[in-house]
Amino acid sequence: MENRILLVAELGPDGHLKSSLRSLLTAAKFLKGDIDVLVWGGDTTSAVVEAQHLPGIRQVLNGSGPTLADGLAEMLCALVRPLARQYTHILTAATTIGKNWMPRLAALEDVAMVSDIVGVESSDTFIRPIYAGSIWATVCCPEPLKLMTVRTTAFPGTEGEGRDPVPVENLPCPAALLQSTRIAVQAHVQEGRPSLENARVVVSGGRGLGSAEHYEALLGPLADELNAALGASRAAVDLGYASNDVQVGQTGKVVAPDLYIAIGISGAIQHLAGMQTSRVIVAINKDPDAPIFAVADYGLVGDLNVLVPELTAALRK
């Protein structure tokens, strides 16, 4: 049987498609079948056009309207559920949005779901990390409708454009529900820096930085030199050095940049879970036995208060 695959996209705050969709495309290619892309949001005008030009897809579904602007799980389920059974597989990125609505849809459709896949073995067998990534489980999902969130860092984005724009089908915007409403948003933007998800280089700081002022003063200039995003360990976030959305790890974001620089981070397994598939890892830590050195390609033992400014200065030259 030919698979019918639906990829559910996400838009960035700028209204453009997030690049994670191209990773979903790569994952979907392993499944072999027709691929549709669902774009949703308060205003999807530019994202729909971008989606129409993705390579190898059949059509774009467009769910646009005020009730979808906030990305509430209840509304996304109302949008996707009427179409769900037309598909054999529905994939979305394992973001705080995807992880929020997809399990809800799974229960409504009475199917088990597979979280955070990092590999596709066949159209019903997937690999997913468990125990903070210490273990990989190979899981068979015999459900007729397979719902999956995808760890997008595990799938390099499909490049290129389709030859002709594919057709668009407009979906009815679901009616408002009373159960939940969004009453405030506190967006955190790293001014002038790439986002953690897309950065080629990530500079991450931990408890060793000692204070919020040090975190900014030491890591900011280094990040700017490297055009890097800033990340943090849980300890650094808990202590208020950095904002929650830059926490890297089992319960934060998973990143896999070309270069990850861990500064004053000990390397707890929960932190490693979020960065150990980076291409090159550098660690700066004063403790030569810190576990971070076990995963670092290049380790530098010493005081970060000396080494980080020295590194920034050397890069400037």
Binding site: P13, A73, E74, T96, K99, N100, P103, R104, A106, A107, L108, V111, A112, S115, I130, Y131, G133, S134, I135, W136, A137, T138, V139, C140, P142, Q179, S180, T181, R182, I183, A184, V185, A187, H188, L226, R234, V237, S243, N244, D245, Q250, T251, L259, I269, Q276, V280, I281, V282, P288, F293, V295, A296, D297, Y298, G299, L300, V301, L307, L311, A314
Partner: protein, 249 residues
Amino acid sequence: MKILVPVKRVLDYTIKARAKADGSGVELAGLKMSLNPFDEIALEAAIRLKEVGQATEVVALSCGDAMVQEGLRTALALGADRALWVSSTEELQPLSVAKLLHAVVLREIPTLVICGKQAIDDDANQTGQMLAALLNWGQATNAAEIQVGEGRVDVVRETDGGTETLRLILPAVITTDLRLNEPRYATLPNIMKARKKPIETLTPEELGVTVEPRLKTLRVQEPPQRPAGVKVDSIATLLARLKNEAKVI
């Protein structure tokens, strides 16, 4: 207001999990088990709501084999008023757990269910959302702040872009993130007292739920290890190697 807190006993977070040599599962024999850290946070949130007079009763619930009673004892020692054990030796996947929780909710009629956002063993991050769906209740995952008002609850949730505040009509399901609170420790007298408290036992049959694992774990293995790296002795060497060897800058 009654609050139900589902808790799971998991491998302690300080222990690195290992796959069994034959790949059939994760080695758990003889290792330290603890309450899922997110569930401790959920319990703490519920207990604090009771302490400020917004909740009347905190009921802890765990599904699994006889060992999960240990987790319930911890919950009682921390301040849960009652404990329910849904006894099952089956492999309980999130959908099954959600169905069991759903059946218990219909009996207990809580106004709020507070779950952990994920269990740190299977890392599924599904159960709370599934429960909310089965109940047709509103949901707020990754809670960093909970404010209960008249007939509603405002939840600040952590998102990939910062935070957002949702207003849910009660009853509702909330799942906890790390920064919601810092859980207390159980005191020795409370641990002793908790040993004597009754744990009410239920079975999936009594609850009318068929527990069936739908997903099949074919094998587990440890992921490919990164080859060991090197320590460099200066910034100059580091930069030279990043340029010439790793070619990342």
